[in-house]
């Protein structure tokens, strides 16, 4: 039995996923997670755990239970169909001469 993703009997505080932005304009990227009783404390814990050495200019914390994730059993239907259709990949097409390939 669970409340959100928080198993009953688990004495840990709720889990929060942490996203850090390394510079203005860059995307917020997932850095890890922290436990905290509420959003403000999650922000502080994330600051202490993930940004102490100047790694970030901005932080997001998101309740882990607010994230809907694909499950491992979805991996086949979700991600594999593309592999046998080579024309879906940009590499399928010849690059015209003179076009810079990154």
């Amino acid at each position: 039995m669970t409340q959100g993703n928080h198993p009953v009997g688990d004495t840990q505080w709720p889990l929060w996923e942490v996203f850090t932005q390394s510079a203005p304009g860059k995307p917020h990227e997932h850095a890890g997670s922290v436990h905290a009783p509420d959003a403000e404390m999650a922000l502080q814990n994330a600051r202490d755990v993930y940004t102490r050495r100047g790694e970030a200019v901005s932080l997001w914390v998101v309740p882990a239970e607010a994230i809907t994730a694909s499950s491992p059993s979805d991996a086949g239907p979700f991600f594999e169909p593309g592999n046998d259709k080579a024309y879906r990949h940009p590499q399928f097409y010849n690059v015209p001469r003179g076009v810079k390939v990154f």
Binding site: Q12, W13, V34, H35, A36, P37, E40, M41, Q44, N45, R47, D48, V49, R52
Partner: protein
């Protein structure tokens, strides 16, 4: 006491407060109630010891006797430490650690803000840097005070008893020595007594949100208290903190 000696003592006081409190916080390393808080308290401890390093280094330079921050931290005896008794009290339970930290952080925040405008350039630089760190420390401890006070019956009771106990020791924070009064005159340091009302306003706001009650009595202003007076607890703290440096002088690792 000449102006330089007064400044050296003032800097020693600033450094010693942070060194001793940093050491007290470090006692939680590996023992805090939850991993994230363990890291937070250790971070704050390291910030405070870093600030102490800066203040003590400057004190040593100005003193001109060739003592660096390590010599001042590890080779003075308790009577030579100029920290306030508040910071040397044992860490107690988590509520006491947080409450003492909050009362000191609020004091440190206002003091460092004022010192960031000091007429002394070296002091101004250190204070400006330390003030930013201290703003974060205050945010951390204030949020905890609210959560402990407005938490469960047990956390409320423990936080109230921590406040009652720590409160008695805050009066000494605002007592200027004659030497410090001279520094105020020469615009090196703020008037400590003048910081009390702003400190109290900051403290009041958080305590009100926490549903705790400030003790009615104004904290005793440390009647007869002089810098260098200590409780019995400083000696044992120093014995532990200084043991390695005294057993292996000059050791590096």
């Amino acid at each position: 006491m000449d102006a330089n000696a007064a400044l050296v003592d003032f800097l020693l006081g600033l450094g010693d407060d942070r060194l001793v409190l940093g050491h007290r916080l470090s006692e939680w390393c590996g023992h805090a109630p939850i991993l994230e808080e363990d890291i937070a308290l250790t971070n704050i401890s390291l910030d405070l010891i870093g600030q102490a390093n800066l203040f003590l280094s400057l004190a040593g330079d100005l003193e001109g006797k060739g003592r660096d921050a390590d010599a001042l931290a590890y080779f003075r005896i308790d009577r030579e430490f100029l920290n306030h008794p508040l910071v040397e009290l044992p860490k107690g339970d988590f509520a006491f650690t947080i409450m003492r930290q909050f009362l000191f952080d609020a004091f440190g925040y206002h003091l460092l803000q004022a010192l960031a405008e000091s007429g002394h350039q070296g002091l101004r630089g250190i204070a400006g840097k330390s003030a930013k760190e201290t703003a974060y420390h205050l945010r951390h401890s204030a949020e905890w005070v609210v959560r402990l006070g407005d938490g469960t019956d047990e956390s409320h009771a423990r936080a109230q008893s921590a406040l009652d106990e720590a409160w008695r020791w805050t009066g000494a924070l605002f007592v200027s020595t004659p030497a410090e009064a001279a520094l105020t005159k020469s615009r090196v340091a703020p008037d400590l007594g003048g910081l009390e009302p702003v400190w109290r306003a900051s403290v009041n706001e958080v305590i009100q949100n926490s549903t705790l009650e400030l003790p009615e009595a104004k904290p005793p202003a440390g009647k007869g208290y002089r810098r260098g007076d200590h409780t019995e607890h400083l000696g044992t703290l120093l014995a532990e903190m200084q043991s390695l440096a005294r057993a292996h002088p000059g050791a590096t690792w």
